[in-house]
Amino acid sequence: MPFGLLKYGLNSEYPGTHHFNPATELKKHYDVVIIGAGGHGTGIAYHLAKYHGITNVAVLEKNYLGSGNTARNTAVIRSNYLTEEGVTFYRESVKLWQDLSNEFNYNVMMESRGQLTLAHSDAAIRSFRWRAEVNQHMGVRSELIDRQQIAEIIPNLNMSEDARFPIMAGLWHADGATARHDAVAWGYAKGACERGVELHQLTEVEDIEVTSGKVTAVKTNRGRIECGCVVQAVAGASSVVAKMAGIPLPIHSYPLQAMVTQPYKPVFTPHVSSPHLHVYTHQTSRGEFVIGGGSDPYPLYNTRATLDQRETLTAAALELFPFLAQARMLRQWAGTTDMTPDYSPIMGLSPVDNYYLDAGWGTWGFKATPICGKTMAELVATGKVPEIIKPFELERFYKYQQINEAGATAASH
């Protein structure tokens, strides 16, 4: 029994205090307006308040705190990326992750489980080696392993040679981890609010005022706010919000579905994924199996679940773990992923002065949460783009200088 909990048992009155400032009226003006109170938005607010002393900040959330992809993602943390820019960025993020609970004194339950990605073809082995070589060279724990080693890490994985797509090798990323996704936004918001930041839930941005190339105010369902600058951190609605500021983005928004089973006693520890079968799974601390996979086949701003995606996902999961047929699926949901052509984010300056972009997070936004909070806050506070996020500028698409996280195969259209 940790001491932290004693006070709750010993006090007759519940000693809880409001973690976030209770909803107040909107002020006329804020130095910084952050659109979106997910992990990213609250993280930026937290860093502004704690490390840059900027507290006249409003975080606007159209729904409830962390109600977007922070609530919907499947909590995978990894840094085994393909490009130098990507690895540098996510490697830094994982470091921050490891300190996060103590950073803001709130348990996000970060747990290193390891991540295993499976290869079913020699083409996959080639691209995994590519990843592993880049990672190792940059000090990220990531290696190509053979069938034998795979069987040792996950003895109950289906290693049969007669499987439709036999497992040939794997990419083992020991730093692969998971965390309690909601807690990230809660912890950041708590820390930010304690320092004077205002969190406004159920506050939807309806328009953005730009005068002579500079953002000046945002219109919300609760009134107009003047602002020094705006940061948009609205994964799943990036194009829509940016359009209010007249900024086009290289994004297509697709639903990404996932599902969770009832809780069962532990069966395996690492996070397992198969790009070929478009499926990944891991078992949560509660004992539930989380199963996810590829995005839906067409764009949509709607988080409904579909039966066809459920069928594909479960069929694929059972190719890897046939015994999961007896597990019972409890809940199926979806988030909206802003996919970019090069599978890298869009961060930093925009064509509009004082309007900063934190967008294009596709399926990789959760793991980047802490580093985004840190770097975007630095950008807002200093006006200078931190080196580590320079490569992710929107301008790269105009320069044909994409950051290729897409890997080997190009899209045909």
Partner: protein
């Protein structure tokens, strides 16, 4: 089985007393009857304790008898977390309880309950993380504690499958509403599906008491069911669960091991409502059950709920339950009516007239354990002073059963999955549903009607609307049924806090009143945040019994209305379903060349390319490299044969055929001579290479274009899409699987071919390199293309798919004297590498443009337009960032670099190896790599970080490695 706790007929409509069945629970033998489920059979044996709860390991027993709660979760050999009140017993069935340490009766885990005050809501967030890394130590321990059932990892795969079905009208739920809706719709000749998750049609008519004497329900049920069964337009499925509502009435219906995917033109959801518990101290004790559960026990399974009972009620239905209990010989010690002024109906009055003790304006304040400590022994009742507040003391009434009848929630899950909205009506204290999706209606009690006549009228009306819209009828639809003005069955506040807590709002997660309130105090006020912070409603029953109470508590705690507070999003599935159901049988198509079995017979090791199987090399895997090298040498020195049937083939025909290719590919095709092939490189609009092949011009208006095995599907679709816009006079046809093809290559290729091909002049002048001809090979009409992918004299022979094996046999046979041998993909990769040919997708990546891979020569400069052309112009404005070079490794002792090994400049990554192999021809490793432009000078050296981090020096050489003058393929 005289000792059984059973009632005489007509009680027990579902069981067959002639068929005893033996099974085991916790290694003890029990007997039940056919028709029993595990819970009813155990109840018949006075075994009420079924499981231990998730967090505090509290004893739990049956609650709803309808598969709607997690208390009845038990462990079967290959079916953990099974519901004891859903699973029928069978002879020899082994049933175990779940989630206890020690024994079910003495669970050491129950100690946790004593510390519950130290485990406030969200306690995980508040502790376990100091000092840094501490959580990593706690997590595994907590994970062991968590989880319920045990997955059987030696599970033998069972046969699950699926079937599509189509109906005009699907009626979900076969209670009085469902039966009426189905009959009404069927009248019009509509094809109707009627689905119910229970074993028998009739829903509540099977167990509830609708009149003083208790006959109406039975009589009505018999009449309606008989009518349904007699109607050919109605397909009735029982023990079948409609487990979701998806767009356009796409309904997954689970029955047995099969998932039926039903497409209905119209859906009518008559899914009824779920009875809710009263919230008070120890309301989770075994023996505390829903009124409807008591009635199901008696009427369906002939099981007596107990010896002495108390009914706590907020409506008249509690009185009906009391009458049922009396009929069953149960001593009813009191009816505790929460209402100050009950409006009695005939049934309630009849019950009162029986002299039952009734306390109005009273609540059950607490339930107490019996001497055994695992079951209800008595209840403490107190007068209600104000909402949720009871008098300082009360009195205790002995009972082993408490029936709760305090209200319902509509079964909102399916409708809300389709976008339906819940609102709350304060006068009736009920959730009501609005905003049904298109072509979907709700009817009956789910639509807030609780009087039988209203329910049936509402259902018939919905059916009329549906069939009218389907033009199967033109009935005049009666006005919407008005909501009853009678007293609602829902009591507004059946929630009574207790200093000791343990008033459970959510049984699944062991959440008490304080947990919900305190979540809001911590600032988690939105009901979604309450759920995520407290885990309320996250458990196996997905909030079926916590949603209403939570909404009421949160509303009160945050000064909002219940309607504003609402409930959390309903997600599919409706009830937890085996993954096996949605997986079904796996359908992963496989493609095989017509020569497939010849390869196997020749000892080929096969590899998969997309859905295709292809020979990697011929011979045992232990001498892999030798076999591959031999195959290479045989091509260089004699002649080899490789199956290239998987190669894509597209016919482009018509007056605009040349113009089309000219726009689609990077090269120029207008001036391409008839009878010649030309390399075709494809870029997307971003100027990135996505495919290549050769375009063979057979006539002015006829091109046969090859594409890569994996790419042809997209190439073909992309061609059609472009021409849907260009409207060129051309026809495009994907004929990939119409042709089997081989490449016969090597110095002896012509000699072999000549023996089986008399009508094509194979002479090098008559049929030069990159020439194409049509003729007969081994008696088979063939397209012969003289190409040199492997860098030798070679011919690609394309013939009708079904002749593939015959051609293979003929060539192997005639080739014997020139020692022809088959070769596989691995040898082909080496051969083309020696020749410096790239493979799209291996030597290129998702961003490679033609200049980076020295393909500038394949770009026509003067064309008005081609796909990707403008982007390539843009790319040309900036200097190359990387370029591809050929390299050799002269140090034969160095580890041979592998594909994807890094190219370094000092410690800096400057590129990577895309292809590398030991060349049996050059007797050294050769490869292709991306390097920075200043590393590309022929003769210069660069470093490759090879296996184990060993630095290997590579020398840039001019391509190709082999036969630089390319004489051999022109022989």
């Amino acid at each position: 089985m005289s000792d059984q706790n059973r009632l005489a007929p007509p009680f027990g409509s579902l069981i067959d007393r002639q068929q005893p069945i033996s099974f085991r629970f916790e290694k003890q033998n029990y007997q039940g009857f056919a028709g029993d489920n595990i819970a009813s059979a155990l109840a018949a044996n006075q075994q009420w304790l079924l499981s231990r709860s998730f967090k505090y390991h509290r004893p739990r027993g049956l609650l709803t008898m309808a598969g709607q709660d997690a208390n009845t979760m038990i462990q079967l050999s290959s079916d953990p977390n099974a519901l004891a009140d859903r699973i029928a017993i069978s002879d020899g069935l082994e049933v175990m309880a779940q989630n206890y340490s020690g024994s079910l009766n003495r669970d050491r885990g129950a100690l946790l309950g004593l510390f519950s005050k130290f485990l406030p809501v969200g306690f995980y967030y508040k502790a376990f993380f100091k000092p840094r890394g501490m959580w990593e130590k706690w997590a595994p321990l907590i994970r062991k504690k968590a989880g319920l059932g045990v997955i059987n990892q030696d599970y033998q795969v069972e046969y699950y499958d699926k079937q599509y079905q189509f109906y005009d009208v699907a009626v979900i739920g076969a209670g009085p509403a469902g039966l009426c809706a189905a009959l009404e719709a069927a009248k019009t000749g509509a094809e109707v599906l009627l689905v119910d998750e229970n074993a028998s049609l009739g829903g509540s008519l099977n167990y509830s008491r609708l009149d003083a004497e208790g006959n109406t329900a039975r009589v009505l049920r018999q009449a309606l069911v008989a009518e349904v069964e007699a109607n050919d337009n109605i397909t009735a499925m029982t023990s079948a669960t409609c487990n979701g509502w998806f767009a356009d009435n796409w309904l997954p219906i689970i029955c047995g091991k099969r998932l039926y995917k039903v497409r209905a033109k119209k859906t009518i959801l008559c899914v009824g409502s779920l009875e809710q518990q009263a919230v008070f101290h120890n309301n989770d004790l075994p023996g505390v059950i829903m009124s409807s559960a008591a009635q199901r026990l008696m009427h369906l399974y002939g099981v007596r709920p107990g010896k002495t009972a108390v009914v706590v009620t907020g409506n008249n239905e509690g009185y009906a339950t009391a009458l049922d209990l009396l009929d069953a010989g149960v001593q009813v010690n009191a009816i505790i009516d929460l209402r100050q002024q009950p409006e009695y109906d005939a049934i309630a009055e009849y019950a009162v007239s029986k002299g039952l003790e009734v306390k109005t304006g009273y609540a059950v304040y607490a339930a107490n354990k019996d001497s055994g400590g695992l079951h209800l022994g008595s209840v403490e009742v107190r007068e209600i002073m104000s909402q949720g507040i009871c008098a300082a003391e009360g009195n205790t009434i002995l009972c082993d059963t408490l029936c709760m009848s305090v209200g319902y929630t509509p079964t909102y899950q399916l409708i809300c999955q389709g976008g339906g909205r819940l609102s709350y009506d304060d006068t009736s204290a009920m959730f009501t549903l609005t905003n049904c999706p298109e072509d979907c209606q709700i009817a009956g009690s789910v639509n807030s009607h609780w009087l039988l006549d209203d329910v049936m009228a509402d259902a018939r009306r919905a059916a009329m609307i549906a069939t009218n819209e389907l033009d199967l009828s033109s009935a005049t639809v009666p006005a919407a049924i008005a909501l009853s003005q009678q007293q609602s069955p829902n009591f507004g506040w059946p929630i009574f806090a207790h200093p000791k807590g343990k008033e459970f709002v959510d049984f699944d997660e062991d959440l008490q009143i304080a947990d919900i309130i305190n979540a809001t105090r911590d600032g988690y006020e939105h009901v979604q945040l309450v759920k995520r912070y407290s885990t309320c409603g996250m458990g196996p029953s997905q909030g079926r019994h916590s949603a209403l109470a939570t909404a009421r508590l949160v509303a009160a705690a945050t000064d909002k209305t219940v309607a504003q507070t609402g409930v959390t999003t309903a997600r599919p599935p409706f009830s937890a379903e085996h993954l096996g159901h949605s997986a079904g049988r796996s359908f992963y198509p496989a493609q095989r060349s017509n020569m497939h079995y010849r390869h196997l017979e020749a000892g080929a090791q096969m590899l998969q390319a997309g859905a295709w199987y292809r020979p990697a090399y011929y011979g045992s895997s232990d001498q892999r490299q030798d076999w591959i090298n031999n195959e290479v040498n045989n091509v260089r020195n004699n002649v080899g044969l490789v199956d290239v049937s998987t190669l894509g083939g597209i016919e482009v025909r018509g007056p605009d055929a040349p113009e089309f290719l000219n726009r689609f590919y990077t090269f120029g095709f207008l001036k391409q001579p008839v009878g010649k092939a030309r390399y075709a490189l494809l870029t997307n609009e971003a100027g990135v290479i996505i495919d290549d092949g050769v375009a063979c011009r057979f006539t002015e208006q006829h091109y046969y274009v090859t594409a890569t095995t994996g790419g042809v599907g997209n190439v073909y679709q992309s061609m059609l899409k472009w021409n849907a816009q260009w409207c060129l006079d051309v026809d495009i046809a994907n004929v990939t699987s119409a042709y089997s093809a081989v490449n016969i290559a090597g110095p002896n290729a012509r000699r072999v071919l000549a023996k089986v091909c008399s009508d094509i002049d194979l002479d090098s002048q008559a049929f030069p390199y990159m020439g194409v001809r049509e003729g007969n090979v081994a008696g088979i009409p063939a397209r012969v293309i003289r190409v040199g992918f492997v860098g030798e004299l070679g011919y690609e022979v394309h013939i009708p798919q079904h002749c593939g094996e015959a051609l293979w046999d003929a060539l192997i046979e005639t080739g014997a004297e020139f020692s022809i041998k088959p070769f596989g993909i691995e040898a082909q990769r080496i051969l083309r590498l020696e020749k410096g040919h790239i493979i799209i997708g291996q030597d290129t990546d998702a961003m490679s443009n033609p200049n980076e891979v020295n393909m500038g020569w394949a770009i026509a400069k003067k064309k008005p337009f081609f796909v990707g052309g403008r982007s390539i112009q843009e790319l040309n404005k900036t200097p190359l960032k990387r370029c591809q070079v050929g390299f050799v490794v002269n140090d034969l002792k160095a580890p041979i670099p592998l594909e994807s090994h890094l190219v370094l400049d000092g410690d800096r990554m400057t590129g990577r190896v895309t292809s590398c192999n030991y060349s049996p021809t050059l007797n050294k490793p050769v490869g292709l790599a991306f390097v920075e432009p200043d590393q590309a000078e022929a003769g210069s050296h660069f470093t490759i970080k090879s296996s184990g981090g060993v630095m290997v020096e590579a020398m840039v050489v001019k391509l190709p490695f082999y036969d630089p003058q390319t004489q051999r393929q022109e022989l």
